[in-house]
């Protein structure tokens, strides 16, 4: 698939060659343990601290010491929530949204079932926008932490996290945001915000997998999830993943450089792809909020056909995308994000996400535009819900549903 068209960048990105070049010496001559009291370690320690500054710059954080390196987004999410509950043991409530990543939702479910926490899951409207009034109503002085994503991974819909953080502050709750999808794609400036903690993941911004970071605002009451050595100022024990950290730093610096391109050229390509598909394919629509979303993401629900079948045919044509259908995950339900927005099952199962990156070219988009309508038509010709002749849905009443 090396020659394929990769439009699944919200799942993971290719490591930028420049990032790889920065990392390689960490496997060879600079292999020391940063904690060691000799030159081999000191050289690595210096590179780690520089990477911290690079990530600080991308996040617009006030201090480099506010960056804690972790293994990725899920660890950062878990750490933020568990830290808040431990630091404020009298507060047992969590506020989150119904469309969060499983890294937040699954932990909240566990804490609710096994630890007696009360979890407020804020709904979204049909465009995926957070119900601000429900959010306001859920806030109280019993809330230890609010965890709301900056942008949704499936639809790209952006939440007003700075405003949500200010509201959380009014009741004394900590505010964490899972910014795994937004960091590197849209500008972030944490120094002036009320955001207390932020999760990011390296492999979503052309760094390797297995490295991420948690931003922890200076002065915040914090409790580590991993205890052991004194690494990361005792906030995250474990020998530093030095190559990964250096890679993340380099990727952060590149993301800043390419931020303009992401929000102009890449956005234009995304718009072109979307317009062309909507024009050529009947009975499909964009999910999420088209007016307020990540510049690289487009999620289209193709009615009356199923997402996994779409992906298999796309893959056969050399195109990689992703779907929120049940069949891609092995679960029985389509994407919780689609269901939360009230997308009907017949369309939710056909929701297909195309996510671009700075590596996406216009030729690739043109190829996808040429291929998609045929794939959709082929699958609809097999579907009992689709009356090909009329181009309209057909009555179909199975025995059980």
């Amino acid at each position: 698939m090396s020659q394929g068209i990769y439009l699944d960048n919200n799942a993971t990105t290719r490591v930028d060659p420049e990032v790889l070049q920065e990392m390689l010496p960490l496997f060879t001559e600079h292999f020391g343990n940063a904690s060691s009291m000799h030159g081999f370690g000191a050289a690595v320690g210096g590179k780690i601290e520089w990477a911290r500054c690079q990530v600080q710059a991308l996040l617009g954080a006030a201090h480099d010491s506010e960056i804690v390196f972790t293994s990725g987004g899920t660890e950062s999410d878990n750490t933020a929530i568990l830290s808040a509950l431990e630091a404020y043991p009298k507060k047992r409530e969590i506020v989150t949204s119904v469309v969060e990543h499983p890294g937040v939702l699954a932990l909240c479910e566990y804490l609710e079932k096994k630890r007696g926490c009360k979890v407020h899951r804020i709904p979204v409207d049909k465009r995926g926008n957070l119900d601000i009034e429900a959010y306001r109503a859920a806030l109280s002085d019993q809330v230890a932490i609010v965890s709301i994503m900056w942008a949704n991974n499936e639809t790209g819909t952006i939440f007003p996290v700075e405003e949500l953080a200010r509201m959380a502050k009014e009741v004394g709750a900590l505010f964490h945001t899972d910014a795994v999808q937004s960091v590197g794609k849209i500008p972030v400036k944490l120094a002036d915000s009320a955001i207390d903690m932020l999760s990011l993941s390296g492999h979503k911004l052309h760094a390797p997998k297995g490295i991420g970071a948690l931003y922890v605002k200076r002065g915040l009451r914090y409790r580590p999830m991993l205890r052991g050595g004194h690494q990361e100022r005792s906030r995250r024990a474990g020998t530093e993943n030095a190559p990964g950290i250096v890679g993340l730093g380099a990727a952060a610096q590149l993301a800043l450089v390419h931020m303009g391109d992401e929000n102009t050229r890449v956005k234009a390509l995304r718009d072109k792809l979307e317009r062309a598909i909507l024009a050529a394919v009947p009975s499909c629509f964009v999910t999420g909020n088209p007016d307020n979303r990540l510049p690289n993401t487009c999620n289209i629900a193709f009615e009356y056909i199923e997402g996994e079948a779409i992906l298999l045919l796309l893959n056969e044509a050399g195109i990689a995308a992703s779907s929120g259908s049940a069949c891609t995950s092995g679960s029985l339900e389509p994407s919780h994000v689609m269901r939360a927005m009230g997308v009907p099952y017949t369309a939710a199962h056909g929701a297909t996400r195309f996510s671009l990156s700075r590596e996406t070219t216009e030729e690739e988009i043109d190829r996808v535009i040429a291929v998609v309508p045929g794939i959709i038509a082929k699958l609809r010709s097999l579907s009992p819900y689709w009356q090909q002749e009329a181009g309209k849905p057909k009555e179909f009443a199975p025995v059980y549903s």
């Binding site: 043991p89 047992r92 079932k113 096994k114 630890r115 007696g116 926490c117 009356y304 056909i305 199923e306 997402g307 996994e308 079948a309 298999l312 045919l313 893959n315 056969e316 259908s325 049940a326 069949c327 891609t328 092995g330 679960s331 029985l332 339900e333 389509p334 099952y345 017949t346 199962h349 010709s381 097999l382 579907s383 009992p384 819900y385 179909f396 009443a397 199975p398 025995v399 059980y400 549903s401």
Partner: protein, 307 residues
Amino acid sequence: MWNYTDKVKEHFFNPKNSGVLDSANAVGEVGSITCGDALRLMLKVDPDTQIILDAKFQTFGCGSAIASSSALTEMIIGKTVDEALTLTNRDIAEYLGGLPPEKMHCSVMGAEALRAAIANYKGEAWEDDHEEGELVCKCFGIDAAMIERAVSVNGLTTLEEVTHYTKAGGSCQTCHEKIEEVLEEVLAKTGALKPAKKHAPGTVGLDAIKPLEPKAESAAAPKLTNVQRMQVIMGAIEEMRPQIQRDGGDVELVDIDGKDIYVRLTGACSGCSQSAGTMMGVQMKLVEALGEFVRVKPASLMPAHAG
């Protein structure tokens, strides 16, 4: 990406017998739109011979669903109705060279569509007894519905019993937590077992471990005069000396300069690699005795004007 066999891919990419069968005299429609699968199976049955002359399908579903439907039509064309009824979902899966455990329900849908179509042909009402739940044990393909049935019918109460009755959780064991969740839910619903006592938050597990209360501020001790302070320091050092002397060393007070207390280590302690540790021991003892922070330093670090 699922690991599909070549046979599955062949039937998905080039499905056989898809579309509408206008001359059909038997139609079976089954599906679960919430799960993303629906199948309409159309048969043309010869009324004299009961042979299925033709079969076509329409499927809303994933690659496995389309492949299973296609395979099913291939398997039943030319068979009599009664022969077709002997087919099971496992036959469909085997015809395809196997399906991932998560996809076995697609073959079940095919087998049920066949039964629905034949019931339709015979003018009988067909009711599915198909129940489907979230797949819990991937090793043995056991879903939540099956576990629920086994628990409620047999009065099971433990994970081990569930494994004995259903095989679920008997292999890689990664599904044990999920099985226990299903078990708890069923027992809570049926009342077959008193639900585990609900513990108030903060009374069990890690939550029950309370952080240490900060020590109550003792009433401010009356401030010591310089003489009293010196006596306390000298007394504390005298208390420590026998222990240090037993190791062949000794310690003597040289000077007191505010928070800095200068001592000299002699005997075996002089030049000993553990002398820093001895110094720290003396410092801890003095901090405890005085109730204030002090630094114990070697006499060699005394400012030039002193002593």
